[in-house]
Amino acid sequence: MKNKKQRSVDPAALEMLEKADACCIGSAFSRHDQQQPRCGFGELGVCCRICDMGPCRINPFGEEPTRGICGADAATIAARHLIRQVAAGVAAHSDHGRDIVHALMLTATGEAQGFTIKNPERLKALAQERGVTVEGKTIGEIAKALALNAMEEFGRQEGEVQFAALRAPKATVENWRKLNLIPRGIDREIVETLHRTHEGVDADYRNLLMHGFRTSLGDGWGGAMLATDIGDALFGTPMPVRSQVNLGVLQKDSVNIVVHGHEPTLSEMVVAASRDKKMLALAASKGAKGIVVGGICCTANEILMRQGAPVVGNFLHQELAVSTGAVDVMLVDVQCIMPALIEHAARFHTQVLTTSAKARMVGARHIEFELETAYDTALEIVRTAIENYPKRGHVDIPEHKNDLVAGFTVANTFTHLGGRYRSTFRPLNDAIISGRLRGVAAVIGCNTVKKTQDDSHVRMVRELIANDVLVVMTGCAATACSKVGLLQPEAAATWAGKGLQEICEVVGIPPVLHFGSCVDNSRILVALCEMINEGGLGDKLSDLPIAGAAPEAMCEKAIAIGFYCVASGAYVNYSPAMRVYGSPEVTHFLTDEVEQVLGGKFSFEGNPVKAAHLMMAHMDKKRAALKLRPLMYGRSFLEPGDAVSAESSDAAAASEAPSGGVPASPHQGCAGKRPASSISVNE
């Protein structure tokens, strides 16, 4: 059981948790304690719940039962359940993508109230890239054609998801084709995953996992990529923007609306409605100075990137924000929304509003969001918040907040790196080739109560930038690091290694770049493609000195992201580990064997600093393979005659153990921590 200090490294979170404890209010942290001990079979991935002859469990200590009723062994069971998680994650991102495409369609036909295409240039470029004719067409016609073209990606039965071959380097695409890994359609592979994992279908763990990789590519190079690119055309392409983060952005004397969830469509409208003169006048009439719209989870990142809206917090902040007593409306759509918000809000004046037909909660007020009446709905939501403002009780907003810079994209990172006259990735590639930079790491993902909130993100990122690794971040990970000020240009002088410092100073960027929401991980994939296209760093994505990590991963979406990154050739450290340790075969496949075919692989190291070292060892291995110059300032993480890759799975497993490492043979008799004398006869 964790004590209070271990629950978070964020002082604002600790302050609110203290308040929650004092008022006997539960939170994810206290419910985590109540869930102890967790079921070991579930944790190890050897509990099969697929058919109704079960549930079946495999004895992880190697005794009977070693098979379920149907004969499925630990490897089959772990692989089946894991790729079901992949499919669920892909489904979540892609359904989000589908909604954005739908929004583009209704905007094109003029049916979406209040929406216009904010970046027609991006729209045209996207249409051209995807083979949609633009000549002689109006913006609306192009948008409609592009929306129809994009919509086909979801239901296509044969062929390939387009972005994969359009954007990835040729050698990577050829490898995918050889392995039959490019998804035919986004939905089709999800359906096939469910079919394959049905009772009595695919039982070969390798075959199952490879299909998991295929399914996941429909996320990174399909649904998520569409969500990002079409979102940029529709809502505007982000530009670097300053904002603030943490619970301290809530204002005591203003109406506070917290938008929580993932899709940008509604939140964009709410931001617009909060700036409506009538609404501001209504707020003033209730004694409020203004209207604050702040975000939690990826909605926060969407409106931060495009509107500069403040970020209230990341995933584990959702209940804590309500505990301030200063949230007048908690507006939610889909994904990462804790049902606990309802009981939490009931203790304060906060109104929880659900807006998606896909995600309702008993006890919440439901205002269904439809594009045709988007602005009216947004006005109603803002009005609800204003009318709720006078009902506030005691308000307790932590002081803590920090500045950040967000809004980086592939297009504008170009501008930054190349300067106004050289819009190119050349300077980034040169910095890596010359050894000033070791490589690039993407640190992404969630918060989890299994680890101290934000601690792993912050420690890993500090270790990486201190060793001359440029870090790009998205999602709740980015929020975690922005809370401690790592997303400001000033952070380079304090935390970055000398090589990275030089880059940051010349270009004027923070050492850690905020790329947006979870679907915006697709921006990172495109950036990697640009690095290959620029030349000098190999011919396929797996040649690049790069690595990814989800140090506080929690949801199926994170597993899907991990899968498409590995399938794209990246080394990914995922922690807490996926539920595969009950099967040594599946663990070995994911952390070792798969590298031979995909070029990428997983490690499951739990310690964020050790994980950073594994990631950097991988970058150094790639640097050596590319015969790049030694690092100008940083040390190598490769051991002489290194077998880093082969050892990683054992290292990962050992890291979870307090003592670390597995002795060659056990003592006789009782537990290892018992001294030998205690089992001798002392009569």
């Binding site: 001990p37 079921c39 070991g40 079979f41 944790e43 190890l44 469990r57 992880p60 200590f61 190697g62 005794e63 580990a577 340790y581 009950g582 040594p584 497993a653 050992a654 979870e656 153990a657 307090p658 003592s659 490492g661 597995v662 002795p663 060659a664 043979s665 056990p666 003592h667 006789q668 008799g669 009782c670 537990a671 290892g672 921590k673 018992r674 205690s678 089992i679 001798s680 006869v681 002392n682 009569e683």
Partner: protein, 173 residues
């Protein structure tokens, strides 16, 4: 005896979490993820058995007049003192299995790796440190508790009193 492991069959869901916790407690590495990868993975000293319509974790009852201790030819099975659970000194065990035959509950078994028997030691070192036995701590439904015999008796009397009160109609509230 400081305490006994009390089993409430009506609360047992058959999840086998106690088996895992017991295995981990008797492992070298003290963590599930690493324990299952030890050269000789640990064996649980408690087994969840299925009866007709119920599941129940069975482990050594630490008999006062233990037939296993009486029959052991090498004094491998022993008690440290009067309060101690029955312990096995695996170095002395010759694997003759007399104790397995003598045990009325079937809760002693052979460990193939060490060629000696294994049985519940009531996590005596944990108990000495003031902790609960691993299986008791792990049980999510409190089907396993660790109580002194006096406390168990007192609980039984309380329950019996309630029965009498129901029967005589004197129960208030």
């Amino acid at each position: 005896m400081k305490g006994m492991i009390v089993v409430k069959a009506d609360r047992c869901m058959g999840c086998k979490t106690c088996e895992l916790a017991c295995g981990v407690e008797h492992s070298q590495t003290q963590s599930l993820v690493t324990a299952i990868r030890e050269a000789h993975p640990p064996r649980s000293r408690v087994n969840v058995e299925r009866g007709c319509g119920f599941a129940v974790p069975l482990q050594c009852r630490q008999c006062e007049n233990a037939p296993c201790v009486a029959i052991c030819p090498t004094q491998a099975l022993h008690r440290k003192d009067d309060d101690s659970p029955v312990l096995i000194d695996q170095a002395r065990c010759i694997g003759c299995k007399w104790c397995v035959l003598a045990c009325p509950f079937g809760v002693i078994r052979m460990d193939d790796a060490s060629h000696a028997i294994i049985k519940c030691d009531q996590c005596f070192e944990r108990v000495e440190r003031g902790e609960l036995p691993a299986c008791v701590e792990a049980c999510p439904t409190d089907a396993l508790t660790f109580q002194s015999l006096d406390a168990v008796v007192a609980d039984k009397r309380d329950a019996y009193l309630v029965q009498i009160e129901h029967a005589t109609g004197t129960l208030k509230t």
